[in-house]
C-alpha cells in the first residue's frame, strides 16, 4: 500500500513536471493564462461589488460573511482550476474519441493520471487573490483568528475542494453511458454560477434539496464560512462530511462501472 502511494506520488510529480515543461514550450501559452484568469476573476469581483452595493444582507448574512463566502468559493474554484479542472474536463472527449484506451492499458489509476496531467499554473494568482478577499472578509467580519480556526477552515476548504472534484468527475463519467452528456455539464455550470453568487443559507425547499444533495454547490463554500464565523452546527458539519463521503462512494462506483461499460471507438 505504502509502495503504491509512493509510486503514485512520483507519477504525479512527473506529470506536473511534464505539464509545466509542455506549457513552457510556448511563452504566450504559459504567461497568457495568468493575465486572462486574473481578468476573469476581477470581472467576477465587479459583479459582486455591483450586487452588494445595493443590498446589505443576504439571508442572515451581512457584508463580512458575504465577502468571506465569495473569497472561499473563489479559493475552492481556484484550487479546481489550478489542479484538476482541465484534466477532468477532457474526460468526455477522451471517452468519445476512444483516447481512454491508452489510459486503461497503463498500470496505475487512469483517473489519477487524468486528474494531474493538465494542471494550470495560470490560475495560481487566483489562489492569492482569493486569499486576499478571505483576509479582507475576516477583517470586515471582526473574526478573531486562532490556530484551531485556521486549521478547521483549511480542513473544510480541502473537503469541499475534493467534493467539487468528485461532482465534476461524476458528471463527466456519464459519458461512459450516454455519449451526449453535454447537457449535464450545462446544468453543472448553471448551478455553479448561481451558487458562486448566493450562499447555501438562502436555499429552502426544493432548492435546498437540489443544492445541498443533488448538486451540492450550496454547501461548498457555505460550510467553511459557517465554521469560520462560528455558525456551523454539528448537524451541518455531519451533513458536509456525509455528502462528501456519499459522493466519494457514488463517484467511485460510477467511474468503475463506466470503465466496464466503455466501448472505445471504432478505429
Amino acid at each position: 500500500m505504502r509502495g503504491r502511494i509512493k509510486r503514485n506520488l512520483r507519477m504525479v510529480r512527473v506529470l506536473i513536471n511534464l505539464r509545466l515543461q509542455n506549457l513552457m514550450m510556448f511563452r504566450l501559452g504559459f504567461f497568457g493564462p495568468f493575465f486572462v484568469d486574473s481578468c476573469v476573476f476581477l470581472v467576477q469581483l465587479c459583479v459582486f461589488e455591483v450586487i452588494y452595493s445595493n443590498v446589505d444582507r443576504i439571508g442572515t448574512w451581512g457584508k463580512g460573511q458575504m465577502i468571506l463566502y465569495i473569497g472561499t468559493f473563489s479559493m475552492i474554484n481556484a484550487i479546481n482550476m489550478v489542479i484538476y479542472f482541465f484534466g477532468i474536463n477532457g474526460i468526455p472527449d477522451k471517452i468519445k474519441n476512444g483516447d481512454m484506451d491508452l489510459y486503461l492499458t497503463k498500470p496505475g489509476s487512469p483517473l489519477l493520471r487524468l486528474t494531474f496531467e493538465r494542471i494550470n499554473p495560470g490560475s495560481v494568482p487566483l489562489l492569492f487573490l482569493s486569499g486576499v478577499i478571505i483576509s479582507y472578509g475576516i477583517k470586515e467580519g471582526g473574526i478573531k483568528i486562532t490556530p484551531i480556526l485556521v486549521l478547521g477552515y483549511v480542513f473544510w476548504v480541502a473537503v469541499m475542494a475534493v467534493l467539487y472534484y468528485l461532482v465534476e468527475v461524476l458528471i463527466r463519467s456519464f459519458t461512459f453511458f450516454i455519449l451526449t452528456s453535454g447537457n449535464t455539464i450545462i446544468l453543472e455550470e448553471a448551478g455553479l454560477t448561481l451558487c458562486m453568487q448566493l450562499p447555501g443559507i438562502v436555499f429552502y425547499g426544493v432548492y435546498k434539496v437540489i443544492f445541498y444533495v443533488i448538486l451540492p454547490y450550496g454547501i461548498m463554500a457555505t460550510i467553511p464560512v459557517q465554521f469560520l464565523t462560528g455558525e456551523l452546527t454539528l448537524s451541518g458539519a455531519l451533513w458536509g462530511i456525509l455528502v462528501a463521503a456519499a459522493f466519494t462512494i457514488l463517484t467511485a462506483f460510477v467511474w468503475k462501472q463506466g470503465i466496464r461499460h466503455y466501448n472505445s471507438a471504432s478505429s
Binding site: 506529470l15 509542455n22 496505475g108 470503465i259
Partner: protein, 328 residues
C-alpha cells in the same frame, strides 16, 4: 506455455438504427430502434508464449475489437478470455505491468516534449528502477538507432521515427506480450522494413510474444509464422502463414523478353496475356500450368524470363472473398 486463451469469445455492439430524413429523426426520438452488431463471434484461440501471430482481416472484421478485449480495454459480451492468467477487463495493475499495446493511429508520446520526457513518465508508471530504465532505454535506442532523436520535440519527428519511439515507449518495461495494431500504417517501404526487422529481433532475442494486426500483408508474411484470418467477427483460418498464402496463390506472372520482335502462338494452359509488345510478353497462368507454359515458350528463345508471384493484395482479396471455406 499458453499465454492467451479464449473460448467462445463474443462481442456484440448495440447501435442505433435511424431511418433516413427528418421523419426518421422524429421517429427516433419517440421509438428508438437498435440493432446488434456482432464484432467478434464465438472465437476460440490459443497462443503460446514466444509466438509471433498475425491477425488479418478486412476493415470491420473485428481485429481491433479482439485486441481491445485481450488488453482489457473493452469487456466481452460472453465467452471466456485469459491473458497471462488474468481476466483482462479486471484491469489489474499486475496484468497491465506485463503487456504493452501500440496503436498505429494513437500516439502515447507527448508531442511538444522530447521522447526522453515521455519515457521518464513511463518509468514512473511502470515503477522501473533507474538502473533498469537506463539499461532498457539504451538497449532499444541502440537497436532502433535513434540516438540523435531522443532530445528533439516529438512533433518534429517523421512518421517512421515516431513509430520507432512508440515502440521504445511500449517495450521499455520488457513486456511479456506486445499487441501491435497497424504499427506500419502510413509508413514508407524503408521505414516499414526497418520496423519489421526490429520486431523480429525483439521476438527472437527477448522471446516477447507479439500479436500483430496489419493490412500490409508484407508485414504478416515477413514476420508471422502463424496467421489468424478474421472476417465478420469469425475466425476463418488459423495456421501456418506460408500455407495460407500458398493455398490462395493461384497464379504466376511470367514475363518473357525477346531480342527480336516475336509473335506468340495460340496459348493453352488457361493463360491470360496481361501486356504485349513485340519484345515483351507478360502472361498470367495458373500456377500448376506455369511449367508447361514455360516449356512451350522456351522454343521462342527468349533472352530473359521473370517468374513472379501474384501481388499480395490480390491474394488477400481472394482470401476474404472465398471466406476460407474449409480452412478454419
Amino acid at each position: 506455455m499458453e499465454i492467451i486463451k479464449t473460448a467462445g469469445l463474443t462481442k456484440n455492439f448495440k447501435r442505433f438504427k435511424k431511418q433516413a430524413g427528418m421523419i426518421g429523426s422524429i421517429k427516433g426520438l419517440i421509438r428508438r430502434e437498435y440493432e446488434e452488431k456482432q464484432a467478434i463471434g464465438n472465437l476460440d484461440l490459443t497462443i503460446q508464449e514466444g509466438e509471433f501471430v498475425g491477425l488479418i482481416g478486412p476493415n470491420g472484421a473485428g481485429k481491433t475489437t479482439l485486441v481491445k478485449m485481450l488488453t482489457g480495454i473493452i469487456a466481452p459480451t460472453c465467452g471466456s478470455v485469459s491473458v497471462l492468467g488474468y481476466y483482462p477487463n479486471d484491469l489489474e495493475h499486475e496484468f497491465k505491468q506485463q503487456y504493452a499495446v501500440v496503436m498505429g493511429q494513437k500516439s502515447q508520446l507527448f508531442f511538444e516534449l522530447t521522447v526522453e520526457d515521455t519515457l521518464r513518465l513511463f518509468k514512473e508508471i511502470y515503477g522501473l528502477p533507474e538502473e533498469e530504465y537506463e539499461s532498457s532505454r539504451d538497449y532499444f535506442v541502440k537497436l532502433f538507432q535513434v540516438q540523435d532523436l531522443m532530445h528533439v520535440q516529438v512533433r518534429t519527428l517523421s512518421l517512421g521515427e515516431r513509430m520507432k519511439m512508440e515502440l521504445i515507449a511500449a517495450l521499455l518495461h520488457n513486456p511479456k506480450i506486445i499487441f501491435l495494431d497497424e504499427p506500419t500504417i502510413g509508413l514508407d517501404a524503408v521505414a516499414s522494413k526497418q520496423i519489421r526487422g526490429f520486431l523480429a529481433e525483439i521476438n527472437e532475442r527477448r522471446g516477447t510474444t507479439i500479436i500483430l494486426t496489419s493490412h500490409y500483408m508484407e508485414d504478416i508474411k515477413a514476420l508471422c509464422k502463424r496467421s489468424i484470418v478474421i472476417n465478420h467477427g469469425c475466425k476463418i483460418y488459423d495456421g501456418d502463414t506460408e500455407k495460407l498464402f500458398e493455398r490462395f496463390q493461384k497464379f504466376k506472372k511470367i514475363t518473357f523478353t525477346f531480342s527480336e520482335p516475336t509473335l506468340l502462338p495460340n496459348l493453352e494452359f488457361d493463360a491470360r496475356i496481361l501486356e504485349q509488345t513485340p519484345y515483351k510478353k507478360v502472361i498470367m497462368v495458373p500456377k500448376e500450368n506455369a511449367a508447361g507454359l514455360l516449356r512451350e515458350l522456351m522454343n521462342l528463345l527468349p533472352t530473359d524470363i521473370t517468374v513472379e508471384e501474384e501481388e499480395i493484395g490480390t491474394i488477400v482479396e481472394r482470401i476474404y472473398q472465398e471466406g476460407g471455406d474449409g480452412l478454419a
